[in-house]
């Protein structure tokens, strides 16, 4: 049981992340008004995920956390994926008709 050494993340990183997040917001709003067809939702979700990742890693200190915390994060994302993908697997393959 290793008790992690507490890393204090300073204002400089926070300000950088804040700016990155604001930039991301601007970017995603701008991108949403351009018709990229198939790519629109993917870009929107990719930018959202990048932003979420920044918040996770820096604001929420995951980057400086124990493996256990990282495991919890990965586990949550994994189970979320299972819920979404296996449910959608049913919905998508329903349209394939019978055997």
């Amino acid at each position: 049981m290793s008790e992690h050494t507490h890393t204090v993340v300073g204002p400089r990183i926070y300000v950088t992340i804040l700016l990155a997040l604001l930039l991301g917001t601007a970017l995603t709003v701008w991108a949403s008004f351009i018709d990229l067809g198939f790519w629109n939702p993917i870009i929107a979700l990719a930018i959202a995920s990048t932003k979420a990742l920044l918040v996770l890693l820096y604001f929420m200190h995951v980057k400086y956390s124990t493996n256990l915390t990282k495991l919890a994060v990965v586990g949550a994302i994994f189970m979320f994926t299972v819920l979404v993908s296996l449910t959608l697997a049913d919905y998508i393959s329903r349209a394939w008709g019978s055997w």
Binding site: A95, G97, S98, W99
Partner: protein
């Protein structure tokens, strides 16, 4: 002897000696399902016996009196592998076998005789192509694949015929299908097995299996005078469907004869087979099912037609000319040939190959 026998004797004779332990097999699929069931039961028994024998033998050999000091051991990779792999292999056999049966039960043959069943709290209504309909009862012939197209008007129900080993959830808003071929004439139980509210336990009925001749007789005697297709034709006219679906060159809606069973391309580019489910959806949610080349202008009939009405319309559309129809009619005719069921707008269904307009509605 029962007029003198004591109550207990009656109990033993009349009651205890005469109760079923295994359901009758009355469909072609039933022996297949039972074979798997018996296989699984045997495997379970072997497993159970193995566990039982292990527990009993070890309990006798190694009880404290006989074996006062336990011998410690860690485990055995070989044994672990044995009881991982053997069950796994058996389960895989069951999985494959079970899946094959599953797909057999839920994949109707193309020439199946179609019967519609509408479930509502708390009755079953079966509708036959010839316009016969009955409540909490289903008549089917032997030796003929029968497909049930099921839909619920309210909540989930489940249509179960234990003697046939088939069961299918009856869902609101969507057709589900199941098929079987009955083998033994007789009367069998029919249950709603999905809890559906107050009188769930009274939503049962009977399935009457008859020989083809008897069945033909029954059909002839129970006809209501108009077939589903004829009802559908009337509904088609009263809803003014023919304003658009009229086979004219400038028609705003697709031409309906031959549409059933054909492969359509939707506006989205998706290819789809026009089956019952598709027809139902395109009547109730037309904009999602628009065929390529047509504008999504069809209004929805959701809330305007009952499920029975939709069935009538579908049956009408099916009875307009189509390749599929020809196939089916040929095999249907040997069943109810004298029945008025085929007097819809396509009286010439037998073997007529020429397409379009023949059976379409005159404007």
């Amino acid at each position: 002897m029962d007029h003198t026998s004591p109550i207990l004797w009656q109990f033993l004779v009349k009651w205890m000696t005469n109760f079923p332990l295994f359901p009758t097999e009355a469909s072609t699929i039933a022996p297949n399902v039972d074979a798997l069931l018996i296989f699984m039961t045997l495997v379970s028994l072997i497993g159970l016996v193995a566990v039982f024998v292990l527990i009993v033998t070890f309990s006798i050999l190694y009880n404290k009196k006989r074996h006062p000091v336990a011998i410690q051991m860690e485990g055995s990779t070989v044994l672990e592998a044995t009881w991982t792999l053997i069950p796994l292999a058996l389960f895989m056999v069951m999985f494959v076998w079970g899946s094959i049966i599953y797909f057999r039960i839920f994949t109707p043959p193309t020439n199946a005789l179609n019967i519609y069943v509408v479930g509502k709290q708390w009755i079953w209504k079966s509708e036959y192509a010839g316009g016969q309909h009955e409540i909490n009862s289903l008549h089917v012939p032997t030796g003929r694949a029968v497909q049930l197209t099921l839909i619920s008007q309210d909540v989930f129900h489940s249509f179960s015929i234990p003697a046939f080993r088939v069961k299918r959830e009856v869902i609101p808003g969507r057709y589900t299908t199941v098929w079987f071929e009955a083998t033994k004439p007789g009367t069998y139980r029919l249950f709603c097995t999905q809890y559906c509210g107050k009188d769930h336990s009274h939503m049962d009925g009977e399935v009457v299996v008859q020989t083809p001749e008897e069945y033909r007789k029954w059909l002839a005697n129970s006809t209501s005078g108009t077939s589903l297709a004829q009802n559908g034709e009337r509904l088609f006219a009263s809803l003014s469907c023919n304003a658009c679906h009229n086979a004219r060159p400038d028609a705003r809606g697709p031409n309906l004869p031959r549409v059933f069973g054909s492969k359509l391309t939707l506006t989205s580019g998706e290819k789809i087979i026009a089956d019952d489910a598709y027809l139902r959806q395109s009547i109730l949610n037309p904009s999602q099912h628009t065929i390529q080349g047509y504008a999504p202008i069809m209004p929805t009939y959701q809330g305007q037609i009952s499920e029975e009405g939709v069935i009538d319309l579908i049956e009408y559309i099916k009875n307009l000319d189509s390749d599929y129809r020809i196939q089916q009619t040929q095999s249907v005719t040997d069943l109810p040939p004298d029945n008025s069921g085929k007097t819809g707008p396509s009286p010439s269904a037998t073997g007529v190959k020429e397409p379009v307009s023949k059976g379409s509605v005159k404007p």
